[in-house]
Amino acid sequence: MELDRMLGGFEHLLLLTVLRLDERAYGVSIRKEILERAGKDVAIGAIYTALDRLGKKGFVESWLGEPTTERGGRAKRFYRVTSAGRAALVETDRAIKNVSKGLKLAEGGSRA
């Protein structure tokens, strides 16, 4: 497996969230989804920093929406996962499954 296609913990979570939200993934929706599903209250700045990193790796692509008054005349930036991003997700999932295979993750033992 290529190391540059391995995702970090937060990148993995973020990419899965963007994939889940499909074409509706932007700062607020991503933040809410992570809070709801993973119970993590992430700063919006941290989301954009990580998305920037994922964009540079070619795992996500973005485009600007229309400016709205509720956002003070600022546009939303929407994100979607690219095919390279999907491949990275598959590889990371496979690696995690391989490493955790046979391990009993609950307290009380290291093997199933």
Binding site: L3, Y26, G27, V28, R31, A43, I44, G45, A46, Y48, T49, D52, T68, T69, E70, R71, G72, R74, A75, K76, R77
Partner: protein, 229 residues
């Protein structure tokens, strides 16, 4: 947009000082969420949330995006070392003068003076305590900025050297007024002591900081799964 749905402009201003390409999106997202919170929880709760998020995001952007370069982090490290050392010194000198000088008729004079405990003791104190503070601060900064720990060490070293050079220049230029008071011997004495105190303390702090940040960096490398490859 009604006024209660407008986020606090001072908090937005705080964020806009940080030049980030995603700033319009971040401010837009925060405004949108502020409006939702103001409608459901009230304007006061929304304002508190907005301020908290502005401060949190400012920290995230400054630290993670590398907008604050290694030099800025190193400057903070040097400043932190000196402030912590000054606080430590103040406490120790206070305790020392309280314990040893309470009978002295010169106590009021000695009380606030750094040389109150006697110059050799003061010097020993500087040399013993400065590396402890430098080591601790270096270690904390090495852990907090692991990706740039190496650059922070180099930048901090440069800042320390510049600081020492500036102090030396100031001492030789700024204390000329003492020489003009027809007490050149005293002025020379003060210069020598101040220079020796400052330079030795700063050099020892800088060295300890370098080691402290280096220890953090080495531990991180050892802990990294890629270090074996």
């Amino acid at each position: 947009m009604p006024d209660e749905l407008k986020p606090p402009s001072a908090a937005s201003q705080l964020l806009s000082w940080i030049r980030d390409p995603h700033l319009p999106q971040i401010l837009g997202d925060m405004s949108e969420e502020y409006g939702e919170r103001a409608r459901s929880l009230g304007a006061a709760a929304a304002r508190r949330w907005y301020w908290r998020e502005a401060i949190r995001n400012a920290g995230v952007l400054v630290w993670r995006k590398g907008i604050a370069g290694s030099a800025f982090i190193a400057f903070l490290a040097v400043l932190t070392t000196n402030i912590l050392f000054a606080i430590m010194a103040e406490i120790v000198w206070h305790m020392w003068t309280e314990a040893m000088m309470w009978k002295s008729q010169y106590r009021p004079l000695l009380y606030r003076q750094s040389w109150g405990m006697g110059w050799p003791m003061g010097f020993v104190f500087e040399i013993l305590c400065a590396p402890l503070v430098g080591l601790a601060v270096g270690h904390v900064f090495g852990i907090a900025a692991p990706e740039r720990a190496k650059h922070v060490r180099i930048a901090a070293g440069v800042i320390w050297m510049v600081s020492i050079a500036c102090f030396t220049l100031w001492l030789f230029g700024g204390l000329q007024s003492l020489s003009q008071l027809q007490i050149p011997a005293f002025a020379l004495h003060v210069k020598r002591l101040l220079w020796l105190e400052f330079v030795s303390r700063e050099l020892v702090s800088a060295g300890a900081f370098f080691i402290g940040a280096g220890v953090a960096l080495r531990r991180r490398k050892e802990a990294s799964p890629l270090s074996a490859s």
